[in-house]
């Protein structure tokens, strides 16, 4: 447990505009003497406020009232600890994280997962054992119970050497080995670099994309790590790709492997299970809607760049056209003849799949400067054979926030 109040996050992969400086960082064992704040290795953060007006929470004396304080300073603190949790989740492979918020003599423990956040009642930690008991149990808990993703390991020296060369990653950057369910129940392994934190609020699909090295087939692939929505009307993305690939829809990558990471309880979100319990004061909040998520990975054969990295306006237009426009447009200067003939969106619809999340972020350009339509995880079967008729989902793509401290 280190005083990190005057040390900004030393995680080199972090690219936030403002410094992340939680008051106390808790590590496993003894970190290097130079490490004070490091979101890539911290176990959990502790944030301390001494002024009661900074408390984002209040004591609930009426079951119809929220336990959130509606005041500017309270909102600032809530945003601050949310940012810390977001950084923590983004900088590591974790299913959930904990954070302790202290206001003078009281503490609250918060558990963040991709469905929502559970907040405890205030703990008078100098009189009540619960905070110390939390520290004690956490220190003895298994990695999975702490939230650490056990499907991520360290590659062997030989694996790392080959992967580092293929991925062109410098020697000082650590490599990680991720498991993905493959065909016929056989687990496959891929090597990639640690994630670069992006500031998303914790709830949501938390999609992270990596260029990865396929150990078995010795090739580069695209690895997508996300938390898919675990509802019956949302088909797992790998199954959608299977339909699209079987129908030979053009400009849709081929899915090489996909599946839920584990049947373990820790790879599914839990917060949604507590919405209807009697002590939850936010159950009366009309906007409270928590969606269950399941940890999921998927491997694609196309490694692309985001659409905004186009080299010319013609290239960008052509890439979008690959994805969305069904009619053939003839442009004499266009080099790629095949881009004039097909539309992933149109062909997918004809194959029985409606994308429903078409956006600039979901069209990528590959090395041959051809556009591909990806991110089918919110798509919906639109063919009568699937017999699914549910309303549109209220929330879809979660926008990244402005960066902050």
């Amino acid at each position: 447990m280190l005083n990190s109040s005057s040390h900004k996050d030393s995680n080199l992969k972090s690219s936030f505009l403002y410094d992340v400086k939680p008051d106390i960082c808790v590590y496993r064992g003894c970190p290097a003497p130079t490490v004070k704040t490091d979101s890539s290795s911290v176990e959990f953060f502790i944030e301390i406020k001494w002024n009661t007006c900074d408390d984002p929470f209040c004591v609930v004396d009426d079951e119809n009232k929220s336990f959130l304080r509606d005041a500017k300073n309270a909102f600032d603190t809530l945003g601050q600890i949310t940012a810390y949790a977001a950084v923590h989740l983004a900088a590591q492979f974790r299913m959930h994280v904990y954070l302790v918020f202290i206001l003078r003599g009281t503490a609250r423990i918060l558990r963040w997962d991709r469905s929502g956040t559970i907040v405890t009642e205030p703990i008078h930690y100098n009189k009540s054992p619960h905070l110390v008991e939390f520290f004690r149990r956490y220190s003895k808990a298994s990695d999975a119970m702490r939230g650490i993703d056990e499907s991520v390991s360290t590659p062997t020296t030989a694996e790392a050497r080959v992967a580092r060369k293929a991925l062109n990653i410098e020697a000082h950057i650590p490599l990680l080995k991720l498991s993905v369910p493959g065909p016929h129940g056989k687990t496959q392994y891929y090597i990639t670099a640690p994630p670069e934190p992006t500031l998303y609020t914790p709830p949501g699909r938390a999609t992270r994309g990596f260029t990865a090295y396929d150990i078995q087939w010795q090739r580069l692939v695209f690895l997508k790590d996300s938390w898919r929505i675990d509802l019956c009307d949302i088909m797992p993305e790998g199954q959608v790709y299977k339909i699209l690939n079987t129908a030979k829809v053009k400009h849709v990558p081929t899915c090489l492997a996909s599946g839920d990471i584990s049947a373990s309880e820790y790879h599914t979100t839990k917060t949604q299970n507590y919405v209807t319990v009697p002590w939850n004061s936010s159950s009366h909040h009309p906007e409270t809607r928590l969606i269950p998520h399941q940890h999921y990975r998927l491997i694609l054969d196309v490694i692309g760049q985001i659409l905004v990295n186009f080299q010319s306006s013609r290239e960008m237009v052509a890439a979008v056209r690959n994805g969305v426009i069904g009619k053939v447009l003839w442009i004499p200067q266009l080099d790629h003849t095949d881009v004039q003939r097909c539309s992933a969106l149109q062909e997918a619809f004809e194959a029985g799949i409606l994308h429903r999340d078409f956006s600039p972020g979901n069209v990528i350009i590959d090395a041959a400067r051809i556009g591909w339509l990806i991110d089918w995880d919110l798509s919906r079967p639109c063919h009568p054979q699937y017999d699914i008729e549910t309303p549109r989902r209220a929330t879809r793509t979660v926008r990244p926030h402005l960066r902050h401290t």
């Binding site: 909102f75 600032d76 945003g79 423990i109 619960h130 008991e133 956490y138 914790p202 402005l402």
Partner: protein, 104 residues
């Protein structure tokens, strides 16, 4: 004429209205630091507030997320001693609490 200090105005009254708080919002309201930090913090708070569940009783929290039955090395003897945070709680300012808190 000899220089002299100005005569103290004994009639000055202590302000009775809400005092002005000297923070970034009042002293530097138009800086980019202020503008973007508040925007981003507020955006995060605004988004997360509808995903918060609570307040959960702390004993239930511990038993559900850290059940003793699943923690092999957990000793059942409590380590907590009432008053163990006296040193941390005796400080006046927040900046002085970090060291005593981590040294428990």
């Amino acid at each position: 004429m000899e220089p002299s200090s100005p005569i103290r105005n004994a009639t000055l009254q202590v302000p009775q209205s809400t005092p002005v708080k000297a923070n970034l919002a009042t002293t530097l309201p138009f800086t980019t630091t202020q503008k973007y930090r508040v925007e981003s913090v507020s955006a995060l708070a605004q988004e997360i507030k509808r995903y918060l569940v609570g307040p959960m009783p702390p004993q239930q929290f511990l038993d559900e997320f850290f059940p003793l039955s699943a923690i092999k090395e957990a000793r059942r003897v409590p380590l907590f001693k009432p008053g163990c945070y006296n040193a941390a709680l005796s400080v006046k300012y927040e900046k002085d609490v970090y060291e005593p808190f981590v040294s428990i």
